[in-house]
């Protein structure tokens, strides 16, 4: 296990971003991710980077807009109420085709809610959240190693597709400590120059970063271009883990923190002879349709069980794939409560 270091989840986000070549962080304090900006405030000056505590999340996301327009890797981290405030800015980033990385360490809502772990921002992240027809690539780590690894994916995908990318974490993954190994260390100066950036004309033709188009056809064409890009992402960038699904009578679908608990539940059930499997979307958008379809078509699989820390938001995406062919059940906890694997085991046994 070589050079694994024990770190807090929120700090892993910060260090992984630095190792992914990010030197700019703009953010505003909010529990349960305060250790991320605190880490960056300390660490970024050591590596020649810049940390600014914005006056609000509204300002923070627009600082990202500016730094991204300048052609640099940039990120913020926040939690649910703060992410809501960023929605306008994210929509502008999507419209202006700006790569930015946003980490949401989700907590329970609605409103001020609480500070316990939650997954109740699934819709907000995967369906848009802000105004307009746009998408955000949404990555959902299940442990701290993956939280570190996916930070690089986030920056790479953002740059490749010029799109906002959200890392959808939660209060638990923000607060736990686990050992992680950073598998990359990118020198920002080695990153390709962004040809489109508004970084001063310097004897070339003008670059424009903009989301306004008053010409109806022009705006439609712009939207078509974005949609074509989204289709490409759906084809090429899906990440998903399948665990013990081949002979599974019941297929669990869960992501993030819930998935790691579900995985323990699957192990417990398998030990007792119950044939249960797990499909774990790592990209929530693009949703792993084809991976799930395998279980839909698998004659061994009789039904699906969705586990989430919300009232059943991903269920809608699962329904679209299963399309009425097999029953789908849902069990979720809310308010910051996190179930133990035994709760899942009970639920499965009830219907097995």
């Amino acid at each position: 296990m070589g050079d694994k270091i024990l770190m807090k989840g929120a700090e892993v986000i910060g260090e992984a971003a630095i190792k992914a070549g990010c030197r700019l962080f703009f953010g505003y304090p909010i529990t349960p991710q305060n250790e991320a900006p605190a880490y960056m405030a300390k660490r970024l000056p050591e590596v020649g980077g810049t940390f600014v505590q914005a006056e609000s999340e509204v300002a923070a996301i627009n600082m990202l807009y500016g730094a991204s327009a300048a052609g640099y890797r940039v990120m913020t981290s926040s939690s649910s109420p703060g992410i809501s405030l960023m929605m306008e800015g994210i929509s502008y980033c999507a419209g202006s085709e700006l790569p930015v990385v946003i980490v949401n360490v989700m907590r329970g809502g609605p409103g001020l809610g609480g500070i316990g772990p939650s997954q109740s921002d699934y819709f907000q992240a995967t369906k848009g959240g802000g105004h307009g027809d746009y998408k955000m690539i949404t990555l959902a780590p299940t442990n701290l190693q993956e939280q570190a690894d996916l930070m690089k994916n986030a920056f790479d995908l953002a740059d490749q597709y010029r799109i906002p990318v959200m890392v959808l974490s939660d209060g638990l993954l923000g607060q736990i400590m686990e050992a992680v190994e950073f598998k990359f260390d990118i020198d920002p100066s080695s990153l390709p120059h962004k040809e489109w950036a508004a970084d001063g004309r310097m004897n070339r033709k003008k670059h424009l970063i903009n989301s306004l188009d008053l010409d109806l056809d022009g705006l439609e064409r712009h939207n078509e271009k974005l949609q074509a890009r989204y289709r490409k992402i759906e084809q090429n960038e899906v990440l998903c883990e399948e665990y013990s699904t081949d002979d599974a009578k019941i297929c669990i679908v869960a992501y993030g923190t819930t998935a790691r608990i579900a995985k323990t539940a699957v192990e417990m059930l398998r030990e007792e002879g119950y044939k249960v499997g797990l499909v774990r979307p790592i990209t929530l958008w693009p949703f792993p349709v084809n991976h799930l379809l395998k279980s839909v078509k698998n004659p061994a699989t009789e039904s699906f069980y969705v586990f989430e820390l919300n009232a059943g938001q991903m269920v809608e995406d699962v329904q679209l794939v299963v399309n009425g062919t097999k029953p789908i059940r849902f069990y979720g906890r809310m308010g910051g409560n996190v179930p133990s694997p035994n709760e899942f085991v009970e639920k499965i046994k009830e219907i097995y």
Partner: protein
């Protein structure tokens, strides 16, 4: 017994709920002063408090009057909506420095310049208490916080913001004052200022705000006594006490 004068009475406006403020935190004494003034002005039954996001969000349980909890920084807008709907009621916001002077700067400036007939109790402890000690817009030069780990550097983190001075430039406010609660004498002066502020609202004179220099022993990493001394020795040098605006008739 008859010749004994009552010198202290527990204000009925404060609930008996157990407080969750840290030992030595001055949020508690400010709560008491506000309640005493509202009681003495006979406003209890018609007052509504708008509670912010910060340590004093927990005040949703501490005041007996009707209470509305607002989003972070938006209390003056919420209070505006309430006052416009119910002009005869007494509406006040209770806000921390992160809430009022960072995320909520737009709301407080515009409530003030509109001359909203609301009162704001602004508790300035120079730090984000609730979230565990990050830099606030009011944090003084050199102070080490979670997000200014090398000490606030004016070149990088900018200058601390003086809200009273700024807001008193506007025409809307009727009363703007800064006080402190670090000594008994200053507590008496603070109560007087809070009273004047509510009078400005009740007499329909304009917007009113009292900024109160407060402590956060927990996140300052100091004991309560040293925290009070810090107000005298550091905070007050940058944030002078006094009345910055007081219209005629007050």
């Amino acid at each position: 017994m008859n010749d004994m004068k009552q010198i202290f009475k527990v204000t009925p406006l404060l609930s008996k709920t157990k407080r969750s403020y840290c030992p030595g935190c001055t949020h508690g004494v400010i709560h008491r002063l506000v309640c005493e003034v509202i009681d003495e002005l006979d406003q209890f039954e018609k007052t509504i408090i708008v509670v912010p996001v910060g340590c004093s969000t927990l005040a949703i349980h501490y005041f007996e009057m009707d209470t509305v909890q607002a989003a972070h920084g938006r209390a003056p807008a919420v209070a505006t909506g309430m006052k416009r709907a119910m002009p005869s009621k007494t509406i006040f916001t209770y806000q921390g420095d992160g809430d009022l002077a960072s995320i909520g700067t737009a709301e407080i400036v515009h409530a003030a310049t509109r001359g909203e007939r609301i009162t704001t109790i602004f508790v300035n402890n120079g730090i984000y208490g609730m979230t565990g000690g990050q830099m606030a817009p009011t944090t003084l030069e050199g102070w080490k916080t979670e997000t200014s780990p090398y000490g606030r550097n004016l070149k990088k983190e900018g200058n601390p913001i003086r809200m009273c001075e700024m807001l008193s430039q506007l025409n809307g406010p009727a009363f703007i004052a800064r006080t402190s609660v670090h000594t008994p004498a200053n507590i008496v002066k603070t109560k007087k200022a809070i009273r004047t502020a509510f009078k400005a609202q009740i007499n329909d004179l304009g917007f009113s705000l009292v900024e109160i220099l407060s402590t956060c022993p927990t996140n300052w990493g100091m004991n309560p006594v040293d925290s009070l001394k810090r107000i005298e020795n550091e905070t007050m040098n940058y944030y002078p006490l006094g009345e910055f605006k007081k219209v005629e008739g007050l």
